[in-house]
C-alpha cells in the first residue's frame, strides 16, 4: 500500500501440535506499516473442536502435571536425537504454547521464529492452584539462522489464558565467543554459558 506499508492476505489451515490432526482453518489480514510497529491483524478461524472438548483436554493436561509428586525438571527437550521423555511431554507442551507468545512478539515482516529446543525446565510449586514453570528455550531465527536463547516464566490454570514473562539474550555479535581464539573447548564453554546466560 503506497506510502503506508504492506498488507498480507492469508488463508491457512491449522494442526494439533501433538497429533497432527486438522484443527481448523483461518482467514487473516496482516498489515505492516512502513514504520516499525507491531502489525495490525484481523483474523477469523473455524475450529474443529468445540469449547467442551478443549476444556476437557486442558483439564487432563492440568491433572497430569498436578499428579506428579515431585517438581518437574528436565533439560534438552527434545534431546539431540529428537526424543521427548513421556514424563516431560506436558512441560514441553506448555513451553510450546508459551514460546509462541514470545515468537509472536518478536517476529516482524522480515524475521520469523521456530522453537528449536527447550534447553531447561524447572517447575515452581505454588500454594494456589496455578501451575508455574521456568524455562530456557532456544528459538531458531529466520532468515538469520541464529539461535536465540530466551528465559521464560510461565503460569497457567485451565480456564485462564496462559501467562508468560520472558527475557531473550541480546545477540552478542562478538562477546559470546570472545575467548574463541583459544582452545576449542573454551569456545564451547563460553557458548554454553551464553546460551544459559
Amino acid at each position: 500500500i503506497p506510502d503506508f506499508g504492506h498488507k498480507y492476505y492469508l488463508q491457512f489451515s491449522t494442526e494439533d501440535y501433538r497429533t497432527g490432526e486438522n484443527a481448523g482453518s483461518c482467514l487473516a489480514t496482516v498489515l505492516y506499516p512502513r514504520k516499525k510497529s507491531p502489525p495490525v491483524v484481523s483474523i477469523k478461524c473455524s475450529h474443529t473442536k468445540d469449547q467442551n472438548e478443549i476444556q476437557e483436554e486442558d483439564n487432563t493436561l492440568y491433572q497430569r502435571i498436578r499428579q506428579q509428586s515431585k517438581p518437574i525438571t528436565g533439560s534438552n527437550i527434545p534431546d539431540s536425537y529428537g526424543n521427548i521423555e513421556p514424563a516431560l511431554e506436558p512441560a514441553w507442551a506448555l513451553a510450546v504454547a508459551g514460546s509462541s507468545s514470545i515468537m509472536w512478539e518478536k517476529s516482524t515482516e522480515d524475521l520469523g521464529y521456530f522453537l528449536a529446543q527447550v534447553k531447561s525446565v524447572k517447575q515452581w510449586m505454588r500454594k494456589d492452584d496455578f501451575i508455574e514453570f521456568d524455562y530456557t528455550v532456544l528459538l531458531h531465527e529466520m532468515p538469520t539462522q541464529e539461535m536465540i536463547s530466551c528465559h521464560m516464566r510461565l503460569t497457567w490454570l485451565p480456564g485462564h489464558p496462559l501467562r508468560e514473562k520472558h527475557f531473550c539474550a541480546p545477540q552478542n555479535h562478538g562477546l559470546e565467543e570472545g575467548s574463541g581464539l583459544g582452545s576449542g573447548s573454551a569456545a564451547g564453554l563460553s557458548e554454553e554459558r551464553g546460551a544459559n546466560f
Binding site: 529428537g82 528449536a116 532468515p143 559470546e176 564451547g188 557458548e191
Partner: protein, 398 residues
C-alpha cells in the same frame, strides 16, 4: 584403593603376608593369595588401610610395588569403554542401524565397510582436509568408463542438519542395493557415475556431538575474526559478500574472509573443476521441506528457469507419492530468502544446469532435532525425487 604386589623371597616375608590375611579389620582383598616363595601376592588395599599396611611391610623390610595406583580410576575408564563399545561398530552394512543417528567415526567406518563389500562399484576418495585436519571423503559409485558424466550429492554441509548425513548413509546403501538387484538407479549407473559426500562438514559434525548440537558452520579461525566458523553455504564464489550473507564472524551466515576460504568448500570447487563432467549437483539441507534451484543471490531468473521449475514439480510429486509429505519448490530467492555465496548458484554458473538444493523434513515442529524414526522415511521419499532428477539429467545430456 590401591593394589600392591609383594613377591616373598624368604619365609619371614611369607609369614608377614600370611599375618596380614588374618587382620580382618584392614579389609584386605587378596587377588593373589600367598602360595610360596617367588609367587607374587597381590593385595587390594582400601584407602584407610594403606598407611598401616605399607608401614607394616616397610617395618619388616618387605619390598612391594604399587600395581594399581587407583582402582576407582580403572573402574571409571572401564565404564566409559563399556558405554563406548555398546555402540559397537557393526560388522557389515547389513547390520548397520539406518534408523539411528551416528557419530563421525561410525559413518566413516560405514564408508569403509561399503567399499570393502562392493569394491567393483564403490571407491572412497579423499578430496581434501577440513580445518581441523579431518579427511573429507567422497564415495564414488561407478560401473566403469572413464570420466563419465556424473551426479554429485552432498549432505551435512550444515552440521546441525542431522537428518541429512543420516540420509546420505541410507542413499549410499540404496545405490549399492539397486545395483545388486538391477533396479532403480542401476540403469543410471550404466552411463553415469554418482559422487556422494556424506559428511561435508566433519568438524562441525563432531562439534554437534561433543559440544553444541546446534552448530551450523565450519570450525575455522581466521585472523581478524573474533568468532569461530564460516557458513559454508555463503562461502562460494557466486555473489560472494553481497546481501544475503553476513560479514560478522559471530553470526551464523558469516560468509568468511573471501570465497573458498573454507577447505570444505574449496575441496569441492577443485573437485568439480578437475572433473569437468558433472551434469547434476544436489546439495542437501534441512529443514523446511523445499526443493530449490538457483539463484539465491539475485532476482534475475536463471536461463533454464522453466525447465528447472518443471523438473522440480516432477521431483516433488514423486517425493510426496510415498508418504504424502508436502514440499514447496522454486528458486532460492523467491521461495526461501536472499542468500549470497551459495553452493548451487556457483555450480549453476559453472555450467551444471541441474543444480538443486533440498531442505528436508520437517517444517519446524522438531526442526533440526528430527526424531530418528523419521530418518528412513525421509531418506526414502527424498530418494524418489533424486531419481527423477538423475534420470532427467541422463535423458537430457548436454
Amino acid at each position: 584403593h590401591q593394589v600392591l604386589r609383594v613377591v616373598p623371597s624368604s619365609h619371614e616375608e611369607l609369614q608377614r603376608l600370611q599375618e596380614l590375611q588374618g587382620l580382618e579389620h584392614l579389609k584386605l582383598d587378596f587377588w593373589l593369595a600367598p602360595r610360596g616363595l617367588g609367587s607374587p601376592v597381590d593385595i587390594r588395599v582400601p584407602f584407610p588401610s594403606l598407611q598401616p599396611v605399607k608401614a607394616h611391610l616397610e617395618a619388616s623390610g618387605v619390598s612391594y610395588s604399587i600395581m594399581i595406583e587407583d582402582v576407582q580410576e580403572l573402574l571409571d575408564e572401564e565404564q566409559r569403554e563399556m558405554i563406548r563399545s555398546s555402540r559397537r561398530l557393526p560388522l557389515s552394512t547389513s547390520t548397520f542401524n539406518y534408523e539411528a543417528y551416528h557419530t563421525l567415526d561410525e559413518i566413516y567406518a560405514f564408508m569403509d565397510m561399503l567399499v570393502a563389500e562392493n569394491p567393483n562399484l564403490v571407491s572412497k576418495l579423499e578430496i581434501g582436509r577440513s580445518t581441523e585436519n579431518r579427511p573429507l571423503y567422497v564415495l564414488k559409485f561407478s560401473t566403469g568408463g572413464s570420466n563419465r558424466p556424473a551426479v554429485w550429492i552432498d549432505t551435512g554441509i550444515h552440521s546441525r542438519e542431522w537428518v541429512t548425513q543420516a540420509s546420505g548413509v541410507w542413499f549410499a546403501k540404496k545405490i549399492v542395493e539397486d545395483h545388486a538387484n538391477n533396479e532403480g538407479v542401476a540403469s543410471i549407473l550404466d552411463t553415469m557415475d554418482i559422487f556422494l559426500e556424506i559428511v561435508t562438514n566433519p568438524d562441525g559434525f563432531a562439534y554437534t556431538h561433543s559440544t553444541n548440537r546446534m552448530w551450523r558452520k565450519t570450525r575455522s579461525k581466521h585472523s581478524g575474526s573474533i568468532c569461530v566458523g564460516v557458513d559454508p553455504n555463503r562461502n562460494w564464489d557466486a555473489g560472494f559478500g553481497g546481501s544475503g550473507a553476513s560479514g560478522n564472524s559471530c553470526t551464523e551466515t558469516y560468509h568468511g574472509p573471501y570465497p573458498n576460504s573454507e577447505p570444505e568448500v574449496k575441496s569441492i570447487v577443485d573437485f568439480v573443476k578437475a572433473h569437468g563432467n558433472i551434469k547434476a549437483f544436489v546439495s542437501i539441507h534441512s529443514y523446511s521441506q523445499l526443493l530449490l534451484y538457483p539463484y539465491g543471490y539475485t532476482t534475475t531468473p536463471v536461463p533454464d528457469q522453466q525447465e528447472l521449475h518443471e523438473l522440480s514439480a516432477k521431483a516433488v510429486a514423486a517425493l510426496s507419492s510415498l508418504y504424502g509429505t508436502k514440499y514447496k519448490y522454486g528458486s532460492i530467492i523467491t521461495t526461501i530468502y536472499k542468500a549470497s555465496g551459495g553452493t548451487i548458484d556457483w555450480t549453476y554458473n559453472q555450467g551444471i544446469k541441474y543444480s538443486f538444493t533440498f531442505e528436508l523434513r520437517d517444517t519446524g515442529r522438531y526442526g533440526f532435532l528430527l526424531p530418528a524414526k523419521q530418518i528412513v522415511p525421509t531418506a526414502e521419499e527424498t530418494w524418489l525425487a533424486l531419481k527423477v532428477i538423475m534420470e532427467h539429467a541422463r535423458d537430457n545430456m548436454y
